[in-house]
Amino acid sequence: MNNEEIVLEIKDLYKGFGERNVLNGLDFTLHKGEVVVIIGPSGCGKSTLLRCINGLEKIDGGDVILEGSSIYDKNIKMRQVRQKVGIVFQSYDLFSHMTVMENILLGPLKVQKRDKQEVSELARELLKKVGLSDRENDYPRQLSGGQKQRIAIVRSLCMNPDIVLFDEVTAALDPEMVREVLDVILDLAKQGLTMIIVTHEMHFARAVSDRILFMDHGKIVEEGEPEDLFGNPKTERAKQFLNKFDY
């Protein structure tokens, strides 16, 4: 895995909100085709980290290097970064005034100025994969949470991103719908999409990831292959955290 090209490097990243430091000098690298899952207690900075990679939060120190250049470089436009780094949010956030298809096409057509025919075909193909072919003319209000989240994933994929970030995408869903969304992500992992996934679904984390990062207090406390980290955590903090998931 480590022979693969590095697509993302986080270097000594700091981010605070007011007095509180959320990210405390965080480092890691992501290779092409790699699926990294970040776990850790609530408030440890997982979501903030994803938002910093996508430029939704301003960082206070350190750097985020995407494909060799800093995303905070003055010559780099954040809009271009965001086309390379897709993000799927916990609350799906589809545009509520647009149909499913309009939601998916907006970015590719207006931002990337791609051919409508080509993008529509891609969109239909992806909709079929996530099992929502018949919903392309529906409005978000007509869909369930799980369906909306699958559409949000398709919307992100249609931009042809190099990396997709998943920010607790199943946290707002009914247990029954969690599965349908996780299956989609698992499928993407098999196809070799580079992803960073923040989740509280431990079984899923184990199944989908090439590498797990355990975060606490804005730092990566432990990282390793899923079997190692779940089977035999080295740090006391990770042990404590993982024990909470055993009944």
């Binding site: 996508n54 005034h97 970015g107």
Partner: protein
């Protein structure tokens, strides 16, 4: 009830109704434009203009239209600015309605959630695209009920303009009552005239509102 009176004076009411409509139309248009400009000044927090707009909104909303129009019609000539009655009427309606429209639009813009904006950012929309494709369509559908209420409100407020001798519906009615003492007949014609003008407008606005809100709220 003198039915022949109704028939005889009908043409005058049609004429006055057209005056009401004309002044209402231009006044509402002025209010819309004023409202849009003010709302964008407030939304984008343009430094000094923002303060001026805030003062204007308070002044406009907390004084009666009658006084605003008196100021334009009787006050301005004292300092050498003479405007025609019609101009005063349109400016007055625009001045009053502008603040109401501004608040309606601002309410709509601010109601567009931050998550929708972040969602737009995450697919790489720039500022203009964000406004055009995400914020405005949602803001318009949210503010539409308030905006259409303002339309009706301003159209009814044209009756105030009778006080500055604009020959609109109320003004004509008062003249006719003075001339013929046919109070009931005149008031009947007046009421019916307003209904004929405003009711269809209400229905059309209601229809537009439902169409605009269909995507987000269904039927």
């Amino acid at each position: 009830m003198d039915w022949s009176y109704l028939g005889r004076e009908l043409p005058r009411y049609i004429e006055a109704g057209l005056v009401t409509l004309k002044i209402g139309f231009w006044g509402i248009l002025a209010a819309l434009i004023t409202g849009l400009v003010c709302c964008f000044v407030l939304y984008y927090k343009i430094f000094i203009l923002q303060k001026i707009v805030k003062v204007y909104v308070e002044l406009s909303r907390n004084t009666p239209l009658l006084i605003q129009v008196f100021f334009l019609y009787f006050g301005l000539p004292q300092v050498g600015i003479k405007l025609s009655g019609t101009a005063c009427a349109i400016i007055g309606l625009g001045f009053l309605g502008g603040s109401y429209m501004a608040e309606a639009f601002r309410g709509g813009l601010e109601a567009v959630g931050n998550s929708q904006i972040e969602s737009g950012l995450s697919i790489g929309l720039d500022k203009r695209q964000m406004m055009q494709y995400v914020i405005l369509p949602q803001a318009i559908s949210i503010s539409m009920p308030q905006v259409s209420a303002n339309f009706i409100f301003l159209l009814k407020e044209t009756s105030i303009l009778s006080a500055i001798a604009i020959p609109e519906l109320l003004n004509v009615t008062q003249s006719l009552i003075g001339l013929y003492y046919k109070t009931n007949e005149s008031l009947l014609l007046l009421t019916v005239s307003y209904l004929i003008i405003i009711l269809p407008l209400s229905i059309v606005l209601g229809y537009i509102e439902r169409r605009l809100r269909h995507a987000e709220f269904g039927n």
